[in-house]
Symmetry: C2
Subunit: 109 residues, 2 copies
Amino acid sequence: MIASTPEPPYWVVVFTSQRADGGDAEYADTAARMEELAAEQPGFLGIESARSPGGLGITVSYWDSREAVEAWRANAEHLVAQRRGRDEWYVDYAVRVGRVERERRMPRQ
Amino acid sequence: MIASTPEPPYWVVVFTSQRADGGDAEYADTAARMEELAAEQPGFLGIESARSPGGLGITVSYWDSREAVEAWRANAEHLVAQRRGRDEWYVDYAVRVGRVERERRMPRQ
């Protein structure tokens, strides 16, 4: 469940969100579909997701270039989901795009 | 609960983890203490955290410089917690450090 990413540098998108009430089934379907669709895009390296019950959700996706990040942002089916997110599913969100410079994985024990 | 961060560039630490069984109370105390301690460090900009029940946890902290990230990593009380994390609390984790180049917040509606 923790993504296996290559040696840095690579790119990261941190999507933090607070859900509005309701629409749980459709939201869950769309979220799963977006993870599946992201994984089909050029330059996709991995994705990690967590949501505290009734609290914050954080989805982190990894990409091999900034161009890959921008292409995913502009994907037609993704744009439709983004609009529904703004209009229906979230009361607040933030998207941050950055360049990963260093990675450390837990040492094998 | 979503951090209010300044105009990029700034730095991000994405800490993704999978908990081992047990030690829940001590772990929760230490996690809360680490959030409190991080917020007292020079260059701290904000923190966001989510954990799916029985699943992945993601904590994202924001810093004004790479030096601030490195100083937090080397903080003495934080080093003690990191060691307990490796030895007791996690079965797997990854830490990724990057430079945030772009941020978008949900438009006010």
